[in-house]
């Protein structure tokens, strides 16, 4: 479990208290898990994804976060009897995720899973992620590349592959650990990490994956990777084009590198005051 002082983050700026006030969730919910599905115009895939989830993981609660969709994404989720948080406008994956984290914290969930609404992720692999949480991890990353035995082949293209390599090296340099898949969107979170992320979560493209991973490492949370295989996208297009991709990778690099010294100082301060 994460260090308790990681939850006290006055330095991150004032976090307005949640509109829910002091949370009084039923105690039984602390043992429950929330699956968060950020969805943007996933009308075509969402029903199948939700049904598959309900079939293979009926014990899990699901929340669809509709990130400003212009199609019937929210209606599909409602028709399946799943709670939907509809954002009034598009915030990006980071904002949608943070909405899910805040919902999970406000309603007292003990842990949460991030799951794609486009059918990329296989719900039968959710238990593997949860098992890693049970073993004491705070952040579990379902890695596409950590599975040599399953022969999972996920072709990401040359530019994207190269850029991901650079980011991987940067994370390795800054965290002192190596992760095989820093940008996977198949993750599981412990309760302390949920509270940490609910307060402050990077919201720009790549921020929600790479930066969030590094933040968790630097705050002292336990991060592990679990091999998963992913499917080819059922529908929809990858969210970003090449030129934009370069911009976003540069921005993420800058953000990672500029944040590092500050975090290190904070950690040093915390260690000396202990």
């Amino acid at each position: 479990m994460g260090p308790p002082d990681a939850l006290v983050r006055e330095e991150a700026g004032p976090l307005p208290a949640s509109v829910f006030g002091p949370a009084r969730p039923p105690p039984a919910r602390a043992a429950r898990t929330l699956v968060i599905l950020p969805a943007l115009n996933e009308e075509a895939c969402l029903r199948a994804v939700l049904r598959e989830l309900a079939l293979s993981c009926p014990q899990l609660d699901v929340l669809v976060v509709d990130d400003g969709s212009t199609d019937g994404t929210a209606d599909v989720a409602r028709a399946e009897g799943v709670p939907v948080a509809v954002l009034p406008f598009n915030l990006g994956v980071g904002g949608a995720l943070q909405t899910g984290f805040r919902y999970a914290v406000a309603h007292g969930y003990g842990r949460a899973i991030q799951f794609d609404a486009d059918g990329q992720h296989d719900p039968t692999q959710v238990p593997a992620l949860l098992a890693a949480l049970d073993e004491g991890a705070d952040l579990v990353i379902g890695s596409r590349f950590a599975a040599p035995d399953t022969g999972s082949q996920y072709d990401v293209g040359r530019l994207r592959g190269g850029a991901m390599g650079v980011l991987r090296l940067t994370v390795r340099f800054l965290s002192g650990r190596s992760f095989s898949d820093t940008s996977s969107g198949f993750r599981a979170f412990s309760a302390p990490l949920l509270a940490f992320y609910a307060a402050d979560y990077p919201n720009e493209y790549l921020g929600d994956t790479v930066e969030a991973l590094l933040l968790a490492c630097q705050a002292g949370f336990r991060v592990v990777e679990v091999p998963v295989s992913m499917r080819v996208r059922a529908a929809g297009t990858p969210s970003t084009q090449n030129l934009r991709l370069i911009y976003h990778y540069l921005r993420a690099l800058l953000s990672l590198l500029s944040r590092a010294p500050i975090r290190r100082r904070e950690r040093a301060l915390r260690n000396t005051t202990r």
Binding site: A85, L87, L91
Partner: protein
């Protein structure tokens, strides 16, 4: 610069100052920004009336071309203002984001609890 030029600059400045005052009176411009732009306007107006001051300051700073001093000051000022606006924009963005998230959570259905957990009060059957 000719006298005509100074009159032109001075009247432009005066016009801008009056425009800003009007915006403040209509509550379209918060007073902190009004103060900023008004003081800038006053400085420009002052330089339009007493152009010699600029020459003297340039001399003192060792800048041969007097308008260069003016542009240096202007660009520095504008740069700082734009950086300030970037900061403020980022802050507003973060707050809007948070509001949107809280709104979405407020409008979302609460979780349907597991069997065994007491149902919410309004769901309990009424005894007849």
């Amino acid at each position: 610069m000719s006298t005509g030029g100074h009159v032109l600059i001075f009247s432009l400045t005066l016009f801008s100052l009056l425009f800003i005052v009007r915006m403040v009176r209509r509550n379209q411009l918060p007073s902190r920004y009004a103060l900023l732009w008004l003081s800038i306007g006053v400085v420009i107006g002052f330089l339009a009336i007493f152009p010699r001051v600029l020459d003297r300051v340039s001399n003192w700073l060792g800048i041969a071309y007097a308008p260069g001093t003016f542009f240096l000051g202007a660009i520095t000022m504008l740069f700082l203002i734009v950086v300030h606006f970037s900061w403020e924009l980022a802050r507003l963005d973060a707050r809007t984001r948070l509001l949107a998230e809280e709104l979405a959570i407020l409008r979302a259905d609460p979780p349907r609890d597991a069997p065994g957990v007491a149902p919410a009060e309004e769901d309990q059957p009424v005894d007849h």
